[in-house]
């Protein structure tokens, strides 16, 4: 019986049991699932070429042996097997290959195989997310067949593009725009067209990138410039709502917000900086969004509960390990250092961790560092009756600046931009910061050293303009940041020449180019301006 049929038969309790009962697990039950499925995965690894390579030809018999024998891995460890998309070396047959860009990698893209069971689990997880998104208390949710669904996510081969295909035949919704039409459009067009259709017919469910959703809300409240909405196409109900909202906006002299027009049942959002955008989304759309977390290699691994106050990781998708920050920094300084990891039942509240995953159900990755930092907000939420750890997604690991989930800027990207610009930039470092609207941007500090007898630009604004030309040239998504999200992505600060080196001489080692520690930055700025590091605070 599919999801539609269960809804039709009003089997609400069964639906909750099937999709959301993992929230009732105790931590020990959760770990039992984790351990059992990891051993299944070890069996699968032990019978394939990729697994044997990753496990160094050994066959761990326990979870502890697995953690002891298998080193932490990065995509480079899998590249030779996966980039060729060779099914024969995998633990299980891949039914689909998901792609994403590989910043600073050996190839332009990274690919990850998805097995049939992984797809089945992904389907369940998508439905779980919709159920919880439309829920405000345990066991109660508001989904019906045939709802209008605004899908603001990237199509295949990105992971977000799996959604329409996985729920096909399970849960019937009207995608805005339709899957076929949407696939022919660019990311921006899809969102515009989807929103237009939503205006005409109403929106029940919304799944999108947090930053984009906020921008949509902003544009709507500014009067929806540029949108080609035809009043004639409006459904009477929507026309009435729209007219009513417009009139009350005029009377109250307040901007019209999406929540005045739309009656959303569920809101699912994802992407870096979501934590910064959630409040705005709620203000604009009148509904608390449900945050989810996922990635190409890991699939969707976490979502919030009905109270929308922290990510909970699904027990059967990946096996999770956590690297505490202390270990993480040790490894940053000494790449050969093997970080100690902790399991879900060993982590502590209020601590930050880098997550390490082992994909289950025939996935390809073992003890894989996906490069994301989480904070364990609490080990349980007794008020909700959930006894599992709740997390907050913090950001990508330091060497990457992820801007609103839209683009990822690495040291290599910035180095190339600086090289192409010929601006005589000698030393630099960049750190991700947030403006007053809590929108992220790159704060780039540079030292200029013109060659003798060769004049050059010293003005920060001119340098910024110059660099942006090359950022847009190198990174396709960079230009969309302003266009689609209204973000000013770059701020340049010119430091007196020698400031960075002077600081490095005192600490006897080099400062990270991308996202150096807050302490390092403050100290450099003190040297540079004989004051505090106000520009980063």
């Amino acid at each position: 019986m599919n999801f539609d049929a269960m809804l039709r038969n009003k089997q609400y309790e069964e639906i909750w049991q099937k999709y959301c009962s993992f929230l009732d697990l105790s931590l020990s039950q959760y770990m039992t699932i984790q351990r059992s499925l990891l051993m299944e995965q070890v069996e699968l690894f032990a019978n394939c070429e990729l697994g044997l390579k990753i496990m160094k030809g050994q066959r761990p018999r326990t979870v502890e042996e697995f953690r002891r024998m298998v080193p932490l891995t990065k995509y480079e460890d899998y590249a030779e097997f996966l980039l060729s998309k060779n099914n024969n070396v995998l633990p299980s047959n891949a039914v689909v290959w998901i792609e994403t860009t590989w910043e600073g990698g050996l190839a332009p893209v990274k690919v990850a195989p998805y097995t049939e069971t992984m797809i089945n689990y992904h389907r369940e997880i998508c439905l779980t997310c919709f159920i919880l998104a439309s829920s405000t208390e345990k066991g109660k949710f508001n989904l019906k067949p045939g709802m209008n669904f605004l899908n603001g996510m990237a199509p295949l081969p990105y992971i977000t593009g799996l959604l329409p295909y996985t729920i096909q035949g399970e849960y019937s919704v009207n995608f805005f725009p339709s899957i076929e039409e949407g696939n022919k459009m660019t990311f921006g067009q899809r969102n515009k067209e989807g929103f237009r259709m939503g205006m005409e017919k109403g929106i029940d469910l919304f799944y999108g990138l947090s930053s984009v959703i906020v921008r949509m809300g902003e544009q709507f409240s500014e009067g929806g410039k540029g949108s080609k909405i035809k009043i004639m196409n409006f459904k009477p109900g929507m026309l009435f709502k729209f007219a009513k909202a417009k009139i009350s906006s005029k009377i109250s002299h307040k901007p019209m917000l999406p929540k005045d027009v739309f009656d959303l049942k569920g809101f699912v959002c994802a992407g870096t900086d979501t934590a910064h955008f959630k409040k705005k989304i709620e203000d604009f759309w009148g509904i608390k969004p449900l945050e989810i977390f996922g990635g190409t290699e890991a699939t969707c691994i976490a979502c919030e509960s009905w109270s929308k106050n922290g990510l909970i990781m699904f027990p059967n998708v990946c096996f999770y390990e956590f690297i505490p920050m202390g270990e993480f920094y040790k490894n940053l300084e000494d790449p050969d250092y093997q970080c100690r990891t902790y399991l879900m039942d060993e982590i502590k509240e209020d601590e930050y961790y880098e997550i390490v995953i082992t994909t289950l159900k025939g996935g390809a990755f073992a003890r894989y560092r996906i490069g994301d930092i989480f904070k364990c907000e609490s080990m349980s939420r007794p008020e909700d009756g959930i006894m599992l750890p709740h997390f907050r997604y913090v950001d990508r690991i330091d060497p990457i600046i992820d801007l609103a989930g839209f683009t990822r800027i690495t040291e290599a990207t910035i180095t190339e931009v600086l090289h192409l610009s010929h601006l005589h930039i000698d030393q630099w470092f960049a750190r991700k910061s947030y403006d007053s609207e809590k929108r992220p941007f790159i704060n780039l500090c540079v030292e200029i050293k013109h060659p003798v007898g060769e004049p050059g630009i010293d003005d920060a604004e001119l340098i910024k303009e110059n660099l942006e030309i090359y950022f847009k040239y190198i990174d396709e998504d960079y230009k969309n940041l302003r266009k689609m999200l209204g973000i000013e992505p770059l701020k340049v600060t010119v430091l007196p020449s020698g400031s960075i080196q002077k600081y490095q001489n005192t600490i006897k080692h080099k400062v990270s180019k991308v996202n150096p520690s807050h302490y390092d930055v403050t100290e450099i700025l003190k040297i540079a301006f004989q004051g505090s590091g106000g520009i980063f605070s």
Binding site: E14, Q17, Q29, I33, S36, P145
Partner: protein, 856 residues
């Protein structure tokens, strides 16, 4: 004509409406009721009351038209209210406030109606000439507008609610559409009442009848309500009883009428009395018969199943045969569940998994098992609740399930799993699989099955305990393989039928195991045996039966294996043993080896005895030809006359150990026993003794002085002549030798040679003073050899003598002390160089000597 039609409509439509409403009510009444069905029933009851009160009103039944009219209005109001309640439940509406509002409204209307404010007057006026057509003439009150307003508002609300639900889940609400249409028709029908010209016709009842048809369609065809019929015994019984009672009343009435018509002149009261009496007589047995009939009808299947379970319980209570119990259980389960695809999995002996044991169908086997870590097993260890396949898809407990396990369950179409538990311990699992459709509806009486399983669990547990005890009696306690007795039975069974195919029997004997035991102790020895048993088990798998044949010999029976196959398997065992360290992990590696003998039935042996003999010969050959090898039996082995004594090596090791003990006690006699053995066997062979006899003489020679262990060292190593007492003490060594050898049953054959080696040909020896041929052949050989070595060796009390002197002495005492023929033979052997002899020197010797003293 029109008038007649009006009459029909006037009476017919309310009756039709009532009949439809009652039919729906009966159908719903026979079903299990949830709130949705109850609300629908409430609506139907209102419709039935509405129609019936209308009829009563038209019939002008007491207390009068106005009374029934008000009753009818009340029912009329309740119809849309019932519909409203139905829709709020159907769409899970949570607006409690609006429900409360409408409840209050309806309450007010009912109060107003009961106060007579809706209908002021009402009476039936007959139309002249058209009987029985009567027309209702009524005067409505001011409250009736409010009443109708509320009815229409409620109907509109219902229509809106229905429309909303219909639109939100369009493809699935065809049934709802029919209900919407029905309500709309009712809406029109009620509306007609407000127009007197139309209202005088029964338009509302026509609408009621049509609406009922739509309701029935929604229930039956579109399944708006999920009906689970529960035709109870009471319903049927009541219906039959009512029918009989009505029938009886009519019959009695008819009888009385007939009696009156006949005018017989008899007393009518008497007749009524008789009829009543007869009726009672008939009615009572009739009642009982119906009661039994209904009981039988309802409990037929249940009785059959109960009987089945009862007999099953009795049968298995005294049964200890696991196979029969399971067979019986599967049969009962198949009958109770009407499903043959049931499988039993029982906990295996190692208690690490549940293996397939039996199926409901003879040839239906499944190649799967449940490990202790399987979620189904872990579930049953925590609870007794039955697992249904649909729960496995939804319950988070089953998220631990591996894909392979899930696939297996899907392949067998598992529908439900029931635990077999005894004393809270899971001993087995009953897996029920549906034939075609994965639906639990196909498996009936699941609770009864649970009861059967509880009963069966006790019997299975007892049978397994018995089986375990039986198995333990056949098992070797140390190595957990079968014991000697089982092996012998097995040997007989595999050799019972020559046409059965080849069977290889292998004996795997540890090399020098006695020495290993002596060095490392018996605990270490046992550990070796366990390890080797496990290696054999691992290599043989399910192909063979392994038994501990003797202390350090394992027997492996390999049915359907030929020489080549068994040789390869045994070689694998041999090399694995060789390569395995027998010491605990942290210790220095210790290695042992095994020698293996193989013989195959029927190719090489005609029966079990011969098969065993040949295998022993092959093992012996392996031992004798260097150990750590596998030897297949060949007929040459028998021809070569190899010893069949399976304990050869052990015996020799024991002998060497014992002689070493004597040598250690008296250094002067070091090597004496070995030399005596050499001379004695040479004599025996020269005298034409068989090889087995020669072997016995060798062993006897080595052991002939073993009794000296019990003689004081002062006597043994005395440098001067022995006193008489000391000599007597010394003579006791022969008896002592026998005493020692008696404790070694496998050396019994050597006793005659040992006991007689100090007897003399002339009968003057000791201890038994026998003479001539009465002295054992071996003893005579040893006597010459013993004397010869004593003369030619250094002793405490003398120096060695020359060979020539010794030979002369032998010849001189031939016929008195020694067997003359043998003595002569010995001298000849030495002189002809066929027996190489040399004097034996020692660093210490005594000056004084006497020949007599050497004879000790």
């Amino acid at each position: 004509m029109i008038d007649q039609l009006l009459v029909i409509l006037y009476w017919g439509l309310p009756s039709l409406s009532l009949a439809f409403a009652l039919t729906i009510l009966i159908i719903l009444g026979l079903s299990k009721k949830d709130n949705l069905i109850k609300s629908f029933m409430f609506m139907m009851v209102s419709m039935a009351v509405w129609s019936s009160t209308s009829l009563l009103m038209k019939m002008n039944v007491a207390p009068g038209t106005l009374f029934w009219n008000r009753f009818m209005v009340a029912a009329l109001v309740m119809i849309p209210f019932g519909a409203y309640i139905f829709f709020t439940i159907y769409i899970r509406m949570k607006r409690r406030l609006s429900i409360f509002f409408w409840t209050i409204m309806i309450g007010i209307i009912l109060v107003l109606n009961s106060m007579g404010l809706t209908t002021l007057t009402a009476e039936m006026v007959a139309t002249p000439g058209v009987s029985p057509y009567v027309e209702l003439q009524y005067e409505i009150g001011i409250a009736s507008y409010f009443c109708y307003g509320a009815i229409f508002a409620l109907l509109v609300v219902c229509l809106l609610l229905a429309r909303k639900e219909y639109k939100s889940s369009k493809p699935y609400t065809t049934g709802l559409k029919n209900i919407i249409v029905a309500l709309f028709i009712l809406f029109i029908g009620f509306g007609a009442n407000l127009v007197p010209v139309i209202g005088k016709y029964p338009i509302d009842f026509a609408a009621g009848a049509i609406a009922s048809v739509y309701f029935m369609t929604a229930i039956y065809k579109n399944r708006v309500l999920e009906l689970k019929f529960v035709i109870t015994k009471a319903v049927i019984f009541t219906a039959l009883l009512t029918a009989i009672t009505i029938g009886s009343i009519y019959a009695v009435n008819a009888l009385i009428s007939t009696f009156n018509a006949m005018n017989t002149g008899l007393d009518q009261n008497l007749f009524i009395l008789v009829v009543t009496f007869v009726s009672l007589l008939v009615f009572q047995p009739l009642f009982k018969m119906i009661y039994n009939l209904v009981n039988n009808f309802f409990y037929k299947d249940e009785n059959r199943r109960n009987n089945l379970i009862k007999h099953f319980t009795l049968r298995i209570a005294n049964n200890l045969d696991l196979g029969l119990i399971i067979e019986d259980l599967m049969r009962v389960i198949s009958e109770v569940s009407s499903n043959e695809r049931n499988y039993i999995f029982l906990r295996n002996m190692d208690e690490d998994r549940f293996d397939f044991y039996a199926s409901g169908k003879k040839l239906d086997r499944v190649a799967m098992s449940f490990a202790n870590t399987h979620p189904i097993v872990r579930w049953f260890e925590q609870t007794d609740d039955i697992i249904f396949s649909k729960n496995m898809d939804t319950h988070p407990f089953f998220k631990t399930m591996w894909d392979t396990d899930r696939m297996q369950l899907n392949q067998i179409l598992m529908e439900a799993a029931i635990p077999l538990k005894y004393n809270s311990k899971l001993i087995g699992i009953l897996v029920m699989c549906s034939k075609d459709i994965r639906s639990i509806k196909d498996i009936d009486n699941i609770e009864q099955l649970s009861m059967v399983c509880v009963t069966a669990s006790i019997a299975i547990s007892n049978a397994r305990l018995y089986e375990k005890a039986k198995t333990e009696a056949q098992m070797d306690a140390v190595t957990s393989v079968f014991n000697y007795r089982y092996f012998m039975d097995k040997l007989i069974s595999v050799t019972a039928d020559r046409k059965r195919g080849t069977t290889a029997v292998c004996l795997v004997g540890l090399d020098m195991f006695t020495v290993y035991n002596d060095i490392y102790g018996h605990y270490a020895g046992d550990a070796v045996l366990i390890k080797i048993a496990s290696i054999i088990k691992q290599v043989c798998g399910s192909y063979g039966t392994i038994s501990r044949y003797a202390g350090d010999i394992f027997a492996v029976v390999l049915p359907f294996m030929d020489t080549k196959q068994s040789y390869e398997m045994m070689e694998k065992i041999r090399s694995q043993v060789e390569g395995t360290s027998m010491s605990p992990e942290e210790d220095t590696p210790r290695h042992v080896t095994v020698s293996i003998g193989i013989s195959v039935f029927p190719n090489q042996s005609k029966d079990d005895k011969e098969l065993l003999k040949h295998t022993t010969l092959a093992l012996s050959e392996a031992k004798k030809t260097g150990r750590n090898k596998t030897v297949i039996y060949s007929s040459e082995m028998e021809e070569l006359g190899h010893s069949t004594n399976e304990n050869d090596e052990n015996q020799m090791a024991t002998i060497y150990a014992l002689t070493a003990a004597i040598d250690a006690k008296d250094h002067f006699t070091f090597g004496h026993s070995q030399r005596v053995a050499k001379y004695a066997t040479a004599i025996a062979e020269a005298m034409g003794a068989k090889s087995e006899e020669v072997e016995i003489i060798r062993q006897a020679s080595l052991l002939h002085d073993i009794g000296k262990i019990g003689i004081s060292e002062n006597v043994l190593t005395k440098m001067t002549r022995l006193t008489t007492d000391e000599y007597e003490t010394m003579k006791k060594h022969v008896d002592l030798s026998i005493t020692i050898i008696k404790y070694l049953p496998s050396f019994n054959k050597v006793i005659p040679s040992v006991i007689g080696h100090h007897e003399r040909w002339d009968g003057k020896g000791y201890p038994r003073r026998i003479k001539g041929d009465n002295i054992a052949f071996g003893a005579r050989c040893i006597a010459i050899s013993d004397a010869f070595d004593a003369i030619t060796s250094d002793r405490h009390y003398k120096s060695y003598m020359s060979i020539e002197y010794a030979l002369e002495e032998i010849l001189r005492n031939a016929g008195s002390q020694f067997d003359p023929v043998m003595a002569e033979m010995f001298v000849r052997l030495v002189k002809e160089g066929r027996l190489i002899v040399e004097p034996t020197r020692s660093n210490q010797y005594a000056k004084t000597s006497s020949f007599e003293q050497t004879i000790s």
